[in-house]
Symmetry: C2
Subunit: 226 residues, 2 copies
């Protein structure tokens, strides 16, 4: 009967799966483009655009136009707190989270996260990069480490050309199946590109799964998990 703030309105905004996916994708505080969010949410671009308009209308998101890109981000910590609180309840509620992650084993092992690799392999690779000081992480920020440029040069990735774009070369992306970070950004894209170019793995159509071939996996491990 009390009708305080219109709680139902904004709860219903979060209540749609597509929008919820978008919001959680932005929970790291980063900004993503509409197309990236469309992929994250698993919907078409028009649909995503509609959802984004609704989220903007509810003031849950802010947008920054940069050239022909529109970068969407959470509008503030209050929104993040809310998502966090909802997640807490959901964790206690939902179907027993005995298996935290996707039902699909291969998805958990290796999948593509828009344009870079995610899953166990990606997290292991990220850890090794940090251990070897190929990349260094300063709190939230991630940069190429002292031996980084050299390392990537040896495997045919020219890091000097990756810094040009407005897009950050290195970005941390929280892996939902492992709950740890993996590498995104243009460098992450370059690595995924190489994996596919070398035919170490292929992507079954209509899925995010990345299927390594047996020799491909060996080569990948030798190169990135040495």
């Amino acid at each position: 009967m009390k009708e305080g703030p219109d709680i139902a309105r904004i709860a219903s905004l979060v209540g749609d799966p597509a929008r919820a996916n978008m919001l959680t994708a932005l929970m790291d505080g980063g900004a993503l483009t509409a197309s990236e969010l469309a992929l994250e949410a698993g919907v078409s671009l028009p649909t995503a655009s509609s959802h984004l308009a609704k989220l903007m209308d509810g003031k849950l998101l802010t947008v920054a136009s940069q050239g022909r890109h529109r970068y969407y981000a959470l509008s503030g910590t209050e929104v993040a707190n809310m998502i966090e609180a909802i997640s807490g309840v959901a964790a206690h509620s939902g179907p027993k989270r005995a298996r935290p992650g996707p039902r699909d084993k291969s998805m958990r092992e290796a999948r593509v996260c828009y344009d870079h690799l995610a899953g166990d392999h990606a997290v292991a690779m990220f850890d090794r990069f940090v251990a070897e000081e190929i990349i260094v992480r300063d709190d939230e920020e991630i940069r190429l480490g002292p031996v980084g440029a050299g390392f990537f040069a040896t495997i045919g990735i020219d890091t000097s050309t990756l810094g040009n774009s407005r897009r950050p070369m290195c970005r941390a992306c929280l892996d939902w199946s492992v709950r740890r970070s993996h590498l995104a950004g243009s460098l992450g894209t370059a690595i995924l590109d190489k994996i596919l170019a070398e035919k170490w793995a292929r992507r079954p159509a209509g899925s995010r799964v990345v299927e390594f071939t047996p020799p491909g996996r060996k080569a990948f491990e030798k190169l990135f998990l040495a």
Copy 2:
């Protein structure tokens, strides 16, 4: 694409206006019956029952069967925190809350909250009861004060018969238009009954508004707001 806890599922539970009303009605930590919640939400009993089943399924509510009543309550502080967090965002988002409360002036002044009086008059009455030690509040608990039984006896309410039922005689109910407590429980019901029996006020059909007659208002003020 991270698919952590099923946040959309429980957000959509809160996203329905009827359910949101129910949840906010329970935000004081109390327990209400299905019919009370139906009135709070402004829906029919079958509809309310369906919503309650869904909220139970999502583990947002607990239920305690007492006789033929079923008392629903929030399942824990985590749920309350979530509602609180959502309210915070909603306050920043929604249509300017210049007028915190109902658009209807008469509603804000006096209305019925299921079976007791709410609104400005009810809050003023509650304050006076506390000031005069007619009732005393111990934190969350409310009891009849030292002069309480005598006071109510003089106006024709026998408090000794009100304690029999399982229902608490005194209960605090948070008034949404003033954001302060008013009196619920069987004593609150008795007072409302008296007001209507004395014809100090009447209830237009199909509304929660309580319309005092001019002499009725005088009598009410003399008796309860002296």
